[in-house]
């Protein structure tokens, strides 16, 4: 908690800086349209009035922070959490498939890493194809995945979670291959002298040694998983979730909605990443980690 308090001042200072910059850009980016509008309406507002107008357009190019804040507040606190317009509800929809996908993805990534580290055949043959798989643009194949899964009767949470899985397993696999191979050679030699089985070496040496890599990869993976969940909401009809809000906003040019959905997504992301970070620190402490 102490560390929490020590963060408040820096975070708020930097946020304040971001907000100021944001206002400046809002005026700059919204000005051309406002000028056009005034021209067509034959109005010649003064500078202050003009700036005020740029910051209160209904569909601005860059919404002003207070517009986003108001929208965010309304959609978060003033709506029942079961309403499809509530950001809480939509964030929850996205979060649930994120977490499921992250779970699958982490597990799959670890399984692949274990396979690659232990089975020579996999090391040589699998990795190039996993890399290739990652270069397939998800948004292009997501609809096909959804179609195929729907054809075999899988709908709902799972298809979206699978897209999260697809995006999140790779960072974990890459990180864990490195992590599982990072024990010092002397420690491996030690296990060798005990004629420890591969699984004993794995659990007692490789896994603990890979922990820093694991949690770092998991931070990247949980973020990727959230992106996947959001992307996965589009081809499933975009009925609910942060992705659906983004899409609806984009479709009707409701930039304020887009930004407040983006803010919601970012907050969820920050919370998830911090949760992984805290888990990592707890594990480190349980492993007798030495304070820096």
């Amino acid at each position: 908690m102490d560390s929490f308090r020590s963060k408040i001042i820096p975070v708020t200072t930097i946020l304040a800086g971001v907000v100021v910059l944001w206002y400046v850009f809002a005026v700059i980016l919204n000005a051309p349209f406002q000028r056009d509008l005034d021209q067509r309406g034959n109005e010649t507002p003064g500078a202050v009035e003009f700036i005020g107008k740029t910051l209160s357009q209904p569909k601005p190019t860059l919404p002003a922070p207070h517009q986003v804040a108001v929208n965010f507040f309304e959609n978060t606190f003033l709506r029942s959490v079961t309403s499809s317009r509530s950001l809480v509800y939509n964030a929850w929809v996205t979060l649930s498939s994120t977490l499921l996908g992250f779970g699958f993805g982490t597990a799959l990534g670890i399984v692949i890493a274990v396979g690659i580290v232990h089975v020579a055949t996999l090391d040589r043959s699998l990795m190039p194809w996993i890399i290739a798989s990652q270069t397939i643009p998800i948004l292009a194949v997501a609809p096909m995945i959804i179609v195929v899964l729907a054809a075999i009767g899988i709908t709902g949470l799972i298809p979206k979670a699978l897209i999260s899985t697809y995006l999140s397993f790779f960072p974990v696999a890459v990180g864990m291959v490195k992590g599982l191979r990072s024990p010092e050679l002397m420690h491996l030699d030690l296990m060798h002298t005990y004629n420890a089985s591969a699984s004993q070496t794995f659990w007692k040496l490789r896994v603990p040694a890979s922990v820093p890599f694991l949690f770092t990869s998991m931070k990247v993976a949980v973020a990727a998983s959230l992106v996947g969940a959001i992307v996965g909401e589009l081809p499933t009809g975009a009925v609910a979730g942060i992705g659906a809000k983004l899409l609806a906003g984009a479709y009707y040019s409701q930039t304020i909605d887009i930004w407040s959905a983006l803010v919601a997504g970012s907050i969820v992301a920050a919370l998830l990443v911090m949760a992984v970070g805290i888990a990592g620190r707890l594990v480190d402490r349980a492993m007798g980690g030495r304070p820096a």
């Binding site: 067509r40 729907a150 054809a151 589009l234 009809g237 975009a238 009925v239 984009a250 009707y252 040019s253």
Partner: protein
């Protein structure tokens, strides 16, 4: 009740009000149908969904359906609720473009994903190249919104009468500030929203009967929607459509494209569509058997 899955071409909005009304008003129930309406989304191709067995019937534009048919998916038009096209190109009057003759050397926004055929057919007709050279036009792939126009990234953009045109107005443009090239008005329109199913399945009399009932109820829905536009828009919002005012606007505009709600396909429009596609080599061979009037004939007497 018989189950029917309908795959829409886009997200839930008044463009598909007829089906939502038919469901909400019990017209499908009355025909003994249990209809599942699946909204679409960006880059979801209804043709793929039906080929993969994910739907019994889809809403599609003729261009997309014929292209799929050319690739071996036996899509057949069984009804054509939209008689006129809603697509148009709009340009701000303050900009450089007043007539077709001004296009040369300018940037035009177009949707892709199978929505680009009417535009290319038109350019083909007036003999403009689309490669971005000085004696042709530069084409932009437009995203969902009307920003390219507001930001002046394009000189003209594509809109649907019932959707983006409204957004342009919302953005502060008045109709007199805009130059509009409407595809239907120019006689360049290609058929838009129609109902398609697979010809193999249609050979089954039971399925055919199901489709007859489906089309009958759907057109009843469309009729009701065009007569009660505000109520229809509310039904759409209840089904997940966004922004009630916008849906009401959209419903009114869509109603203008429906015309009589009999779902009958006009063969001349079909011929024009098929020819335009062949001219652009979107399809490799003459389309044949791509529509049937049998269903609408039985459905609407």
């Amino acid at each position: 009740a018989d189950k029917v899955t309908l795959q829409l071409k886009w997200v839930t909005q008044a463009q598909f009000a007829g089906y939502y009304v038919a469901k909400a008003k019990g017209f499908y129930d009355a025909e003994g149908l249990d209809v599942d309406i699946k909204p679409g989304g960006p880059d979801i191709a209804p043709e793929q969904v039906i080929a993969g067995g994910g739907a019994d019937v889809i809403v599609d534009w003729m261009g997309g359906a014929l292209a799929a048919r050319d690739k071996g998916v036996g899509l057949v038009n069984i009804a054509q609720p939209f008689k006129k096209a809603g697509m148009e190109l709009v340009c701000p009057k303050a900009g450089p473009i007043k007539t077709e003759a001004d296009f040369k050397g300018h940037t035009l926004g177009v949707w892709f994903f199978g929505n680009e055929y009417p535009f290319y057919a038109w350019m083909n007709k007036i003999g403009l190249k689309t490669d971005g050279g000085p004696d042709g036009v530069t084409v932009l792939k437009q995203s969902f919104d009307v920003q390219p126009l507001i930001q002046k990234q394009a000189d003209c953009i594509s809109v649907m009468t019932y959707n983006e045109y409204g957004q342009v107005l919302d953005a502060g443009y008045k109709p007199e500030d805009l130059i509009v090239f409407n595809y239907s008005a120019m006689g360049n329109d290609l058929l838009e929203d129609g109902l398609y199913t697979l010809e193999d399945k249609l050979k089954d009399p039971a399925f055919e009967d199901k489709m007859v009932r489906f089309v009958r109820a759907s057109m009843k829905g469309w009729k009701y929607a065009t007569e009660n536009t505000d109520e229809a828009a509310e039904i759409v919002v209840d089904a997940g459509g966004q922004d009630e005012n916008h849906q009401k606007f959209m419903m009114k505009e869509v109603a203008k494209l429906i015309d009589n709600a009999d779902g009958k396909l006009i063969p001349a429009a079909y011929e024009r569509t098929a020819k335009a596609l062949l001219d652009q080599k979107i399809i490799s061979k003459e389309a044949s058997g791509a529509y049937t009037t049998a269903i609408t004939d039985k459905a609407i007497k």
